[in-house]
Symmetry: C2
Subunit: 289 residues, 2 copies
């Protein structure tokens, strides 16, 4: 079997952000930690860490760390049967889409994380990138809009998030005085999450518009809402993220009646241990509206 | 001089996310757009776009796009003197730290963007990465905590954001019943923005604690606050981001009296045109508290 002392040192260096802190966390000297990393690199014949511009794992290092974490999860199950073996809090590395993280995610998993003493290592990724990280062994599970499970994994449907085309009343008066039209869409600045965000294009296609339009790019959920609230553009925003501003009339739909539903799926490996199963149960109980 | 028709095609392909849409935006056929991209690549002797896994500029392509945008900014200044030359809305590509984007940024720049019809291409980066993007010509300006201007650029101090160590009252009762102590810090889960986030370490050092501690990693501002509100951990949160929850007592400090001030600086090239100057004036008028 692998020498897990070496993997533990690698994991600690990355999690603590340095050799000295990793040594402190493991109760080792800094040079003992360096020695373990060197042993690992000699065995592998390639580096597991890049030192510049910032300390970070190589792709191979990342896979080793994830493997170590999966082994820790299995150890934790064992530790419940044999309590004298039990060790520190396990880390779960999970890819989550930005809008879920900005809305319902924490409330859905909070109680379980508190009970189990688990800490999360969250990665913000949408769609295919999250699934690729799961396939590459970089994350233990992934929450995204893609329904197709990858080989060896399972996908649980969680329901749909509803998105509305929202702006301030002042913005709507200025840019859509007569409601949506091709002429208005051509000139009204939109807000788009990223260059590969399809929501805005889907909305415009549903309205029968396929031409160009000016847009702000804002790859952060809360920042996106702030741009809309500052009257800088209209954008597709999850209804649940802006319940307050909608109720107070601070944000309004520029195309009343139009909404897009984005389904969400929870992807995880088969046989990934009791903790992921419990997390799956907690997520299965969520009702998205 | 460069053939700007080629750069315009490249910019359109990246902004529109495809050759067909770029053609529609430019009033060209898809094959005419492909032809221009090929011409550019032949002249350069290297690719400007990668096609898989997703369409994206190469580092060289990215520099060309940014150059084209800077030229567009200068053209815009010219267009104000010679109105018959004026063309469409300029794009400004700017790196902004996540917490500013989640709080005061949109309100500070909204009026100016509306007046000038400018659209923003926001990149979420903290600290050194944002400055490196400025130096590499990938962004036109950068908002971050680093005071030192890079060569050829200037840095305007904007004031400081105040961060407090916050959690729910229930979390504080459970993990800090007798206030902060080394024993409590060793076991109480924290929330950290990313592996290179120094705020949590600075806070613990200010409290005289230098040992290990469990923590959630959450690289998204709003998700970070949600984890704290779900009672999953305590974390350093900008006071201005949670004024409501603080006033209602939903979040409380685990170490009353302790705060960290993070200064913010606005970095931009000298001579970057009237629009960046106006943006600089708007940011200079912000008062962070």
């Amino acid at each position: 079997m692998l020498d897990y002392k070496l993997l533990e040192a690698l994991t600690a260096v990355v999690e603590c952000g340095g050799f000295e802190r990793a040594g402190a966390a493991l109760g080792l000297s800094q040079s003992a930690v360096s020695q373990r990393i060197r042993s690992l690199e000699v065995r592998l014949g390639q580096p597991v860490l890049v030192r510049a511009p910032a300390l970070a794992p190589t792709p191979v290092g990342r896979r080793l760390i994830n493997h170590a974490r999966r082994v820790q999860l299995l150890e934790r199950d064992l530790g419940q049967a044999l309590p004298t073996l039990a060790s520190e809090a396990p880390r779960l590395r999970i890819a989550v889409n930005a809008d879920s993280l900005a809305t319902w995610w924490a409330e859905a998993v909070g109680a379980l994380c508190r009970e189990e003493g688990v800490v999360l290592d969250l990665v913000v990724e949408d769609q295919d990138v999250g699934l690729r990280r799961l396939r590459d062994g970089d994350v233990a599970a992934c929450l995204c809009a893609s329904p197709r499970p990858i080989a060896g994994a399972r996908a649980l449907p969680l329901g749909q998030m509803s998105y509305l085309p929202l702006a301030t009343p002042g913005y709507r008066r200025r840019h859509f005085p007569a409601g949506p039209s091709a002429e208005a869409f051509r000139h009204a600045p939109a807000i788009v999450f990223g260059p590969h965000d399809q929501l805005q294009h889907r909305f415009l296609a549903d309205c029968g518009y396929h031409g160009p339009f000016p847009y702000h790019l804002c790859p952060a959920s809360e920042g996106f809402v702030r741009l809309a609230q500052a009257g800088m553009g209209y954008g597709m925003i999850p209804r649940m993220q802006v319940a307050g501003p909608l109720a107070r009339g601070e944000l309004v739909s520029i195309a009343p009646g139009q909404a897009l539903a984005v389904p969400l799926y929870w992807h995880r490996w088969r046989h990934s241990g009791r903790l992921i199963e419990r997390l799956t149960d907690a997520l299965g109980a969520v009702s998205l509206a």
